[in-house]
């Protein structure tokens, strides 16, 4: 993408004023966004993102700049801008880079740019067909496909000069069911760090009809009661609760400044014995997977909580300095427009021994959250909230009526301790996670599990 001598000049320019680490991140990304509305191609967008980000450290201080000006003058000007924020004598000068090859953990077969757009449209039309035929209640179906090829070059003053290619595609389906003056929606997606072989291997009937089933079910749902109940959260995307409730608090960006509830608690009991929580960027071709992180470090499997005991954090280079610990291959960014920081990849609760049926039949009265929506957490307090996309009442150990408008509200640290049943059916779901280094693809995952009590906000009032 850029020559070693040019990158070397840029890094050396940034280091002139006494910085002790400099990094260049170059990105050339080709993206296609395709959307079908009512079975017809509504939008098709293509684009090329190109830019350069330069980061400089001095001690615990970090400065970042980025530009779309790729000329030598433009990049040297940007390097000067970061250099100006540091004051002192030059400490480092780079004379050569080591030769580094990325170890490809996630083979790509069919590059999305090489595939005729009509071929992609054909798959989307099949999904539309199964979604729209699900029921007469379905009044609108929107289908989107995003594919991208991100080429990056990461070089730094430690001698790294490494190039990687990340190829991803994600299909999302949204169905709307209507009856009289009411409308409800159902949403599902599937994504992979893979070529278009992912799109062409999915069960189109499942993804279409599932989105419509959710919408039609929620149209028939009662207002959700509010109060405190046992909550059973289903597997796969249900894991978003722990992504929000503890994943973010295990990122060094929160831990380093003692702003996380998990700061200074390594080796302590922070969760129920049933909870083992893992972040694993090496899971083959999964949506949140990586070959290398955005600081050029190899992906790895990090055990964060093991049988309730806090074992580790997700750590990037800057926070590793502050925390005086090792990096974990977890530094990520949305694009050249963001300085990287510690983030999750594929994070999940490890499977336990119960079956889904056991968990439900052992719950006399509670809520079953089959699909979760998005949510958020206040990192200072660990308070979180998120919406259930599809939920039911559990009555006498059986799934009863569907309920709409359920919001689960709680505190991360407390919820971890209240996990009292964990299923054996681990699954993963794809999502985009937003934080200070932008939106990055992540998987959240878990088996079906139960939280002994959780506050549920609904529209109905007390149960």
């Amino acid at each position: 993408m850029l020559s070693q001598s040019l990158v070397q000049d840029v890094l050396n320019e940034a280091l002139t004023t006494g910085g002790d680490f400099a990094e260049v991140f170059v990105e050339d990304r080709l993206t296609n966004n395709l959307s079908l509305q009512g079975g017809l191609v509504e939008n098709s967008l293509s684009g090329r993102d190109f830019g350069v980000g330069i980061r400089l450290f001095k001690g615990f201080q970090s400065t970042y700049t980025y530009t779309t000006d790729f000329t030598k003058e433009g990049m040297l000007k940007a390097a000067k801008r970061v250099a100006q924020t540091v004051h002192g004598d030059q400490l480092l000068k780079i004379t050569d880079f080591g030769q580094q090859q990325v170890k490809v953990l996630h083979p790509i077969q069919q590059m999305p740019q090489s595939v005729d757009k009509v071929r992609k449209v054909n798959v989307l039309k099949k999904v539309h067909e199964s979604a729209s035929q699900y029921s007469d209640l379905i009044t609108q179906v929107s289908i989107r496909l995003k594919d991208e090829e991100q080429n990056v070059l990461i070089a730094n003053s430690e001698g790294a000069f490494i190039e990687d290619q990340r190829v991803r595609n994600i299909l999302t389906v949204q169905s709307i069911a209507s009856e009289k003056s009411r409308m409800e929606s159902g949403y599902i997606n599937t994504g992979a760090l893979a070529g278009l072989e992912h799109l062409e291997s999915i069960d189109v009937n499942f993804y279409g009809s599932e989105a419509s089933r959710i919408a039609a079910t929620m149209l028939d749902a009662d207002p959700c009661p509010s109060g405190t109940f046992p909550v059973v959260i289903d597997n796969k995307f249900g894991g978003v609760i722990f992504h929000e409730a503890c994943g973010h608090s295990l990122e060094a960006s929160a831990v380093a400044k003692n702003k996380s509830v998990f700061s200074n608690k390594l080796g302590e009991k922070v969760a129920s014995d049933l909870v083992t929580y893992i972040d694993d960027g090496t899971l083959q071709n999964e949506w949140g997977s990586i070959n290398i992180d955005d600081e050029g470090e190899a992906a790895r499997r990090n055990v964060l909580i093991e049988n309730g005991i806090l074992k580790g954090y997700l750590v990037d280079k800057l926070n590793a300095r502050i925390m005086n610990t090792d990096i974990t291959g977890s530094s990520r960014r949305e694009s050249y427009r963001f300085a990287p920081t510690s983030r999750m990849t594929n994070t999940f609760i490890a499977p336990g021994e119960s079956t889904r049926e056991d968990i439900i039949s052992n719950t006399e009265y509670g809520i079953f959250a089959k699909y979760m929506g998005g949510g958020q957490v206040n990192p200072a307090t660990g308070d979180y909230n998120f919406g259930a996309e599809e939920a039911y009442i559990i009555k006498n150990g059986k799934i009863d009526r569907p309920v709409r408008g359920a919001t689960l509200i709680g505190n991360g640290a407390e919820t971890l301790k209240k996990v009292d049943m964990v299923g054996n059916n681990l699954g993963h779901g794809a999502g985009m996670c937003g934080a200070s280094s932008g939106a990055v693809p992540v998987n959240v995952g878990q088996p079906t599990l139960r939280v002994s009590e959780l506050t549920v906000g609904g529209t109905k009032g007390d149960a």
């Binding site: 395709l34 009512g38 017809l40 191609v41 509504e42 939008n43 098709s44 967008l45 293509s46 684009g47 090329r48 993102d49 830019g51 615990f60 201080q61 970090s62 400065t63 970042y64 700049t65 980025y66 530009t67 779309t68 790729f70 924020t85 757009k117 009509v118 009044t139 609108q140 929107s142 009411r182 409308m183 409800e184 929606s185 959700c224 509010s226 400044k257 702003k259 427009r337 929506g373 998005g374 949510g375 958020q376 990192p379 200072a380 909230n385 998120f386 919406g387 709409r404 408008g405 359920a406 919001t407 509200i409 709680g410 200070s436 506050t455 906000g457 609904g458 529209t459 009032g461 007390d462």
Partner: protein, 448 residues
């Protein structure tokens, strides 16, 4: 290659490749962001980026592509992809390239004075805010967030039908969120402000407001779960209005994603509700003289005394209903397709102050801050169930903070259930929408 050369070559080559009408939308953005934590600069980021998008009619259909690199490769990339994208389109109502209005408003959204501040001065200002934050109250234990951002955006639109428009705007804003502690209890509160100066008085005001907000949440109580009379403070009311503003888009209505279908001319809200979109407001955050298609903008009263006058349109949605565009074509950035969106969208204020509204409440809840809007709002059904912070009110007096709440209701019901409207509209806020405080007859409240 500079922009003018690029445009000339792109348009020439587009013609030889078979495009009829073509358009180039260009954006350039300079931004500075800094975060401060315990006297240290935690983030210092400077950027200068540009990008452009090409839109062209091929075989009667509109193809799109964008690029961030001005080179020969990009010219071919844009034209080849736009052509392929055009060919697979199947929607009936096609976009058109606009020939231009005879007159355009000429409002100024660029404040020269903001350019005088150096990055160092902006960081220095944060340090002053931080020092006052700790002086203000001993219960302040830290800042969750303390940041400042200056940005300058220039955009231009050129097309083969003769449009050549340009405008720029700039903004300086700061935000602080504070962590306060009393006993074992930790709470946080936030305040944000658009800045026009960096005086010490302004710094003290921000520190004071942020600290007061955080402290107000200490000593929270649990309240009974039921329906209450609810005062949505202006920021909370703004967040709700902003979340639901897409329901007024003709595009969403035509795509079956809004319940306002066939409602133009009908009462959809109480007769005390008037909703206005004013793209030319000097204090607005989303001000613009021309929309993303190059149509001259103007003030539109969408809901007047409860009656839905019109929806927001671009050329394509307007053509479908045989009406005029309202000048609400919108592109989030050069990377995005043309859509419809509000600019400075606000609920017309009433005449009672926030304090007067509180005095009129016998028993109720004030909602001050909402979080997790993206997950708790169902834009399609109008239902919302959102985590919130608030206070409990008894006999016209604020009794204190509540534990974390969830407030639940339905936007369409809410529009018909507003008892009183405050006078405290603040248009210069982060959202493109704004609302004064609203006193609602009843909403469901769940307390943790």
């Amino acid at each position: 290659m500079n922009l003018t050369d690029f445009k000339v070559r792109l348009f020439e080559k587009a013609q030889t490749k078979g495009f009829t009408d073509v358009e180039l939308y260009y954006e350039k953005k300079k931004q500075f962001t800094s975060l401060l934590d315990q006297g240290e600069v935690d983030q210092f980021s400077v950027s200068e980026v540009m990008g452009l998008s090409f839109r062209g009619l091929y075989d009667g259909k509109m193809g799109y592509a964008y690029s961030e690199k001005l080179d020969d490769f990009s010219i071919d990339f844009l034209l080849d992809n736009a052509k392929e994208n055009a060919l697979i389109l199947e929607n009936e109502n096609q976009e058109k390239i606009f020939a231009g209005n005879s007159n355009y408003p000429d409002a100024n959204f660029y404040t020269e004075e903001l350019n005088q501040f150096s990055y160092e001065e902006l960081v220095e200002f944060l340090k002053i805010v931080e020092s006052f934050v700790y002086k203000e109250d001993t219960r302040v234990v830290g800042t969750g967030f303390l940041g400042i951002q200056s940005s300058e955006i220039e955009k231009a639109l050129f097309n083969s039908k003769g449009i050549s428009l340009m405008e720029r705007r700039n903004l300086l804003a700061t935000g602080v969120s504070l962590i306060v502690k009393e006993g074992d209890l930790t709470k946080s509160g936030a305040y944000e402000k658009i800045l026009y100066d960096l005086s010490e008085t302004t710094a003290i005001d921000i520190a004071k407001k942020g600290v007061n907000e955080a402290i107000s949440y200490l000593n929270p109580r649990s309240i009974e779960n039921r329906k209450y009379k609810v005062l949505l403070r202006n920021d909370a009311a703004t967040a709700i209005l902003s979340s639901f503003s897409p329901v007024f888009s003709a595009e969403n209505v035509q795509n079956g994603r809004s319940l306002l279908k066939d409602k133009v001319g009908e009462m959809i809200a109480g007769d005390n509700i008037t909703l206005i979109d004013d793209p030319l407001h000097p204090d607005g955050n989303m001000s613009r003289n021309f929309d993303a298609e190059g149509v001259a903008t103007k003030t539109v009263t969408v809901v007047e005394k409860g009656r839905l006058n019109t929806l927001f349109h671009n050329q394509k949605t307007a053509q479908k209903e045989d009406v005029e565009t309202t000048g609400h074509a919108y592109k989030e950035s050069y990377k995005d397709a043309l859509t419809v969106a509000t600019s400075n969208f606000y609920l017309k204020p009433g005449d009672q102050s926030y304090d007067e509204l509180i005095k009129s409440i016998d028993e109720g809840v004030i909602i001050t801050e909402l979080s997790g809007l993206h997950s708790g709002v169902n834009e399609i059904s109008g239902d919302f169930s959102i985590a919130a912070k608030g206070y409990y009110v008894k006999d016209g007096k604020v009794e204190g903070a509540t534990n974390q709440l969830t407030v639940a209701g339905n936007f369409y019901d809410l529009l018909n259930d507003v008892k009183q409207i405050g006078s405290d509209l603040e248009l210069a806020k982060r959202f493109g929408s704004a609302s004064p405080s609203l006193l609602i007859n009843q909403l469901s409240i769940t307390s943790e």
